[in-house]
Amino acid sequence: MSTVSRAADRIESVPFLTRDDASLLLVLPGLFVFSAFMLFPVLYLLGISFTNAEPANLFAGEGIVAVLTFGDALFVGLENYADVLTDGQFWNSFGVTWLFVATSVTLKIGASLAIALIVTSDLVRGKRVLRSLIIFPMGLPPIFTITVWRGIFSSAEFGLMNQLLTAFGVSSVAWLSGRWTAFVAYNVTEAWLAYPFMVIITVSALQDVPEELHEAAVVDGAGFLARFAHITLPSIKRPVLFASILTSAASFQQFLIPFVFNQGGPARANELIVVYGYREALSFQQYGRGAAISIIALVFIGAFMWLNVKKGKLADGVND
């Protein structure tokens, strides 16, 4: 603190700064580390996307100079972008990604709202225990749960989902070998992975809904659905909206599920955009192309987040 206050004294002598501005010093280290490890790779990625980089030429040479010149990779201008944007594979991946965002977010919000309503219902006893059980999956490493879900959707006769289907008299499905069945499997898994986070936020929002409102509505003879639509939903709208935005960003960037399930298959049909970029670069050694795809994905996710923060007034917390 003393360093900070000494710096504060010095800063005060600069005319347009106030003493409180020294607090910026407390924020700078985090900002610096974050920029060094997130923003600098973005710039480097952007650089690679304008070259014909592949492992052979990119890693030629050593030291700072080689970093700055991208090894022996050659500048090819916008060739990678033109290539990618005229490739049907890219547009397929792009479409599947947005479709995945739409379906999985709907599923996640629906399921989490239902679960949250169940574990906050006045008719249910032992809510605390149920709630601690329900967020259990959050503590499990994603790579583990996703592999387990791969086993559940195993195309073999004996995957859990197929056993369930046979129990209901439906013939078993080769989940991960069909395009749309695999897509359904992705959605279910994503919903299961995300529900603890969504439920925690929804539950704490539900608990903040004033009890008197409900009581008054009951006196006025409002049924469960009317109360849900006119009291519960408006009160929890903002936190749930916020959680939905975070979770849709997570869906857009989903990597592990397609990667672990079937590498975005069958036949690259379900490669979500991040998987697509990753595979182009690290499986097919087309670093320049992969970088271009990643940059396009970054632009979209950046625009999406920016719009949400602006439109959803998420930064309102910033202004108080």
Binding site: I115, G126, I201, Y278
Partner: protein, 359 residues
């Protein structure tokens, strides 16, 4: 002080948990009596019982995959998930063999300590006895897993991650919550924007990062990985802790200042103790980042430095997964986190309530 508070809360939790059956039975008998006396309509009670059962069933269904995998671990290597046996709720002959395979030998090796007395030829040599806690071969496990090596690697990543991240996050969150300074809005806006992007876009950045790390020759370094994890954890957790601190009434600090406390004491005696829940949440989130991240670790680290998640996935083959061992490995790996989660749950719920978010 902070630890003491946590320990007290924990012992409260345990007490509450232990006395729960007694209290439940007491409540039930009270309800039964009320129904008998006619104070409470039986239909109301029935409704409560039915919805409780319904809710419990929903929760159990949600947790079923975890139960399923636990059963797979306990049923041993004999029945993999792909055998023709259909699923049964309990394994027919439970075994802990997969868990023994994971843990392997637990041996404290014997060390010899020699102490020479200066200026003489005398020297003492102590031989500490080797302690054998668990010998895997006793249970018919010949080649135990490399769990301990992965565990060591994971700790060497997760501990620096937590230390670095906390030292970056806590001061920043305090400043953002309590001070008004140049670029404050800009920084907060950036952090809110980056909240979710932090972890996820790591994959999109991976190509650039991988190339950079290889160029600088730090692609196989656990410390470099830890710094990276800490960096990705900064925006979301700073913002989370900041919103939590916003919920602490300023009047406490004013009281401390009136009593003549210097600024640093206001922080250590008021802000830190009062944001225990937020700190615990952030601590767990940051720890989990380092403990469970897979993609970046797998891309950057060499076989020698594999962390637990990477080691776990290395067991997965394209066509077959040794389910018993896989799940035993994963459950051993996840159990400390799950325990911490159960106990820290109230903190996490409190810390995640977005108290500053309500509009």
């Amino acid at each position: 002080m902070l630890l003491g508070a946590i320990a007290r809360k924990l012992s409260d939790d345990i007490k509450t948990f232990a006395t729960m059956p007694v209290r439940t039975v007491r409540k039930w008998s009270y309800t039964v009596q009320a129904v008998r006396r006619g104070e409470l309509p039986a239909s109301e009670v029935l409704k409560v019982i039915l919805s409780t059962i319904g809710a419990t069933l929903v929760v159990l269904a949600l947790l079923f995959p975890i139960y399923w995998i636990l059963m797979a671990a306990l049923s041993g290597s004999g029945s993999s998930l792909y055998t023709s046996e259909s699923f049964s709720l309990f394994p027919s002959n439970p075994t802990v063999k997969p868990f023994i395979w994971v843990i392997g030998d637990l041996v404290v090796p014997s060390y010899s300590i020699s102490a020479a007395i200066p200026f003489t030829d005398l020297a003492f040599v102590f031989q500490t006895p080797g302690i054998e806690i668990l010998d895997a071969s006793d249970y018919g496990v010949d080649r135990p897993s490399e769990f301990k090596r992965f565990l060591w690697n994971s700790l060497m990543v997760a501990i620096p991650t937590v230390l670095i991240a906390m030292s970056l996050i806590v001061p920043a969150a305090y400043a953002l919550s309590r001070r008004e300074f140049l670029f404050r809005r800009k920084v907060l806006f950036l952090y809110v924007l980056m909240t979710q992007v932090g972890g996820g876009l790591g994959v999109a950045l991976l190509i650039g990062m991988y190339a950079l790390y290889v160029q600088f020759g730090i692609n196989d370094s656990k410390l470099a990985l830890a710094v990276y994890y800490a960096a990705t954890a900064v925006p979301f957790n700073t913002w989370l802790l900041k919103t939590y601190m916003d919920g602490i009434p300023v009047s406490y600090e004013e009281a401390a200042v009136v009593d003549g406390a210097p600024p640093w004491r206001v922080v250590t005696e008021v802000i830190i103790p009062m944001s225990t829940a937020g700190l615990a949440t952030v601590f767990i989130f940051v720890f989990l980042t380092g403990w469970t991240e897979f993609v970046v670790a797998q891309t950057l680290l060499g076989t020698e430095n594999y962390t637990l998640p990477v080691g776990l996935y290395a067991m997965v083959d394209e066509y077959s997964i040794p389910w018993a061992r896989f799940s035993a490995f994963a459950l051993t790996f996840a159990s400390p986190i799950m325990l911490a989660y159960l106990f820290a749950q109230r903190y996490i719920e409190g810390g995640l309530s977005f108290s500053g978010m309500e509009g």
